[in-house]
C-alpha cells in the first residue's frame, strides 16, 4: 500500500479492557471495533451518522462510531454491545428487548440498546415520549418503534 500512509498508536479502553491499536488517524472507531478488535456487534447502517446502528458509549456518552476518527480516541473509554452482558448474563435491557419484541431483524438492535442504556443512566424511569425523543437518532425499519419504546420503559418489570 502507499508508503506515506501515516499510522498512529492509540491506547484506549474498550469494554473496560485496555487496548492498543496502530491505525491511520482518520480510521473510524467503527472500523477499529469491527476490523481491528473483532467486535462485530456494532453495525454499519449508513456510515454517515444518520442511522445509529453503530452507536456506542464514549466516556458514557452516546456517539455514532462511524463519525469518530481514531485521533479522538486516545485515553477514552468505549463501551459496546459486547460489554453489556456480564459473564454471559444478559443485561436487563437486553432481556426486555427479547421479551417485548424490541428486536426483529436485529440490525438496529445493538445501537438501540446502547442508546437506551445511555438514556437509562441519566433517567431511571423515562416516559414513552422521552424515550421516543431520545431514540430519534436510531432508525429501525422493522419494529415500528413502539415495541422498542415499551422494552425501554418496562426494563426490569415482569
Amino acid at each position: 500500500m502507499s508508503k506515506n500512509r501515516r499510522r498512529i498508536e492509540i491506547r484506549f479502553r474498550v469494554n473496560r479492557k485496555l487496548r492498543r491499536v496502530c491505525v491511520h488517524p482518520l480510521t473510524r472507531l467503527l472500523d477499529i471495533l469491527r476490523l481491528e478488535l473483532g467486535l462485530t456487534g456494532t453495525k454499519e447502517g449508513c456510515g454517515e451518522g444518520e442511522c445509529g446502528a453503530c452507536a456506542v458509549l464514549m466516556d458514557g456518552e452516546l456517539v455514532n462510531s462511524c463519525l469518530i476518527p481514531a485521533v479522538q480516541l486516545h485515553g477514552r473509554s468505549i463501551e459496546t454491545i459486547e460489554g453489556l452482558s456480564k459473564r454471559g448474563r444478559l443485561h436487563p435491557i437486553q432481556q426486555s428487548f427479547i421479551q417485548r419484541g424490541g428486536t426483529q431483524c436485529g440490525f438496529c438492535t445493538s445501537g438501540m440498546i446502547m442508546a437506551s442504556v445511555a438514556l437509562l443512566m441519566g433517567k431511571k424511569h423515562p416516559s414513552s415520549a422521552q424515550i421516543g425523543e431520545h431514540l430519534a437518532g436510531n432508525l429501525c425499519r422493522c419494529t415500528g418503534y413502539s415495541p422498542i419504546v415499551d422494552s425501554v420503559r418496562k426494563v426490569g418489570k415482569k
Binding site: 456487534g41 447502517g45 454517515e48 444478559l90 427479547i98 428486536t103 413502539s146 415495541p147
Partner: protein, 742 residues
Amino acid sequence: MRTKHIGERVPRREGGLKVSGRARYVDDWTLTGALYGVTVRSPVARGIIRQIGYPAGTPWEQFTIVTAADIPGSNSVANLEKDQPFLAVDRVQHAEQAILLLAHPNKSLLEKARRAVSLDIEHLPAVLSLESSLAQEQVVWGHNNVFKELKIEKGNVDGVLNNAPVIVEGEYWTGAQEQLYLETNGMIAVANPKEGVTVWGSMQCPYFVHKALMELFSLPMEKVRVVQMETGGAFGGKEDYPSVLAGHAALLAWKSGKPVKMVYDRGEDMAATTKRHPSRTQHRTVVDRNGKLLAMDIDFAIDGGGHMTLSPIVLSRGSIHAAGPYYCPNIRIHGRAVATNTPPHGAFRGFGAPQSLFALERHMDKVARTVGLSPVEFRRRNFIRQGESTATGQRIRESIQMEKLLHRALKETNYEKKVRLFAKQNLKAKVKKGMGVSCFFHGAGFTGSGEKRLASVVAVEATEQGKLRVLASITELGQGAVTIFTQIAADALGISGQDIEVAQADTAFVPDSGPTVASRTCMIVGKILESACIELKQTLIQNGLLKERYTSNAFRAACKKYVKQHGQLKSFAQYQQPSHIQWDDEKHEGDAYGTMAWAIYIAEVSVDLSTYEIRVDDFLALQEIGKVMNPLLAEGQIIGGVVQGIGYTLHENVIWNKGRMVNNRITDYIIPTSMDVPPVRVIFEENPYEFGPSGAKGIGELPLDGVAPAIVNAIESATGAAINRIPVTPEVLLEAMENTNE
C-alpha cells in the same frame, strides 16, 4: 391437537444472539485472504457502450477485473424472462446497470480504481416515467414497452357503463419506495472450477440464488451452495436482487481464485437495488340507487424499470387486489407492467397491492361522496360476503365478517363522535383534524397455481441428541420464521420448544421449501412442516419406539434409539394443494388464493395549515388473520408494517433525475423515526383457516396494504383536499388544497 406453544407470546428464539451482538451478518464475517469487490455502474439510463478505459495512474495489474466476457455460463439472471444480464454487454438498459467488477484486498484503493474506470457510453433516448412508457414515446423494451398485460373480467362492464347516468372517475398515483432494510445487501463468495461455487449472504430466497448461480457458471446443482447469513431486514428487497450480487461476488472469486466479499454501502444499495413499483390506477365506477356497486372498470399500470424481473407477478397481485373486499357483479381490471430506463423495480411488502388498494380506497371515498353516503356506510353496503365472488370469480368459502370488523373498529376509535366533533372544530381551528377508513384484504401464498408449481418440500430429522431439526429453505429475516417453526413443530410433536432446532438455510442441507415471500412462510410452509412432523412421529410409533401418549423425554429417547438403530430418522413432506383451489392462469380466473386475511384500518390525523405538516395522531389496525400463532410477533409485524406504510404515505419520496435516484442517502430519503409514529393499536380477530397450521393465515404483507388510503382519506376529511397521489409531500398537499378551493 393440544397446543402449548401456538397462540403464546413466545419470545423470538434468536433474540439472545441479536441483543448481545453475537448474531452473524455477512459483513461480520471474513475469510482469510479475501478480496473486496465493487461494481462499476452506468451513470447513463440508456445507451451503447463504446469503450471501457483503464487510464494510467492506477496499478490495474493488481486488480481482478471482470466483464461480461469473463462469464463462464449464461449472462442472464434466472427469472421469468432472460432479459437481465449480470453485466452489461454493448448496451445499457437502465441507470446504475452493472458494467464491470473490480476486486482488490485494499478497500480504499479499490474505491479509487472504481472511480478511475472510464466509460464511454453513447446516450440513447430514454423513457423515464410511467406515462412516457405507456405513451411509447420511445420503445425501449420489446415492441411496445409492455412486460406483461392482463385482463380480469367478470360480468359485462361495458353494458353497465354504456347505460349509466353517472360514472365516477378517478386517477391515482403512487411513488417508488425504498425498502431500506437496515442491513445493506452483502455477499461472500468462494468459487473455482474444482469445488464449484459457494456464497454466504443476506437474502430471502436461497434457491433463487442457487438457480441463478447454476446458470451463470453452467454448473450442476451439487456444485453450487448457497448459505443465508443472519439477515438484517428484507421486506421483498432481498427477493431477487441477491441473485445478481451473488453472481457478481462469485465471478470475481472465480477469476481471482480468492474469496471475495461485496457489501454495498447505503448509497449504492439505495440507488442500484430494487424499489416498490410506481403506479397509476384509473377507476370508473357505477353505483345503483341503493348505493350498491354495479360496475368497476379499473386500469392498473406499474413501472417495472429496465428489466422484467418480477414485474408480471407484482402486476398480477396488484390487479387481483384492485377491486378490494367488495362485491360487484361487473368488474374489469386491465393491468400493464411497462419498461422504463430506471433500475428494475421489485418486490416490497404488499407486492402491488398497496398501490392498487391506495387507488381503490381513495376512490371508494370519492364514490361515497358522489352518491351522498358516508364513506363508512357506502363500504358497509358493498362488502363481499360468504358465497359471493371476487373479481377473479373466487367464491368466498369462509364466513368473513367485514361488517362486524368495521363495527368494532368504529367503536374502538370512537369514529362517529370524532368525525362530528372534528367537523365542528375544524371550522375555526388552524390545525385541522380528520378521520379516515380503509378496508382491504390480502391473499396469502403464491397466486393461483403458484404453490402447486413450487411444490415446496420441508424435512425434519432427529438429531443424535434426540432433538428435532427442521430443514427448510425459509429464511429468518426478522419476521420470526424460526420462532414460528419452533412453535409449529413443538406442538405437532407434543414436545418442548427447547427440543426443536431450526437449521440455517443452507442449500447443502435443506430442501427447497420455496422462497420466503408472499406471506407464505407460516400458512403454506408451516403446514408442510406440520405434516413432516406428524409423519416422523408415526414412524416412531410404528416402530414401537413411542406410545400414542408420551413425554418430551420419551420422545427424545425414541429418537436417539431410532437413530442408533437405523443411522438416521428423517421425514419429508410436500405441499398438498387443497382441492377447492381452481385457477386458470391464462384468464386470471378462479381461486387466486387459498384464503385471505381481512382488515380495517382507521387513521386519525391533524394537518397544520400554516406549515403543511401532517401528523398521524392515532392508528387502529384491526385484522382477521386466522389463528394468531404468536401475538408478540404478530403485533410486531403489524406495527412495523403500519409504520412502513406511514413512511410510504407521508415521508418517503424517491427523487429521480435522468433515471437515477438522486436522494440515495438516509439524510435525504426520510423514513419514520420514533418521533413520527403514533401509537398503533393492534386488534386481532380470529377466523381459523382450515388448511393453515392450527388455522393460521398469512400476515407479513397485509399491514402495509391499507395504510396510505386510511391516512389520505383522513387528510381529506380534515382539509377537503382531494389528494390523489402519494407520498403526500407538502407540495402535493398544497396543490390539492388549491385545486379544492378553486
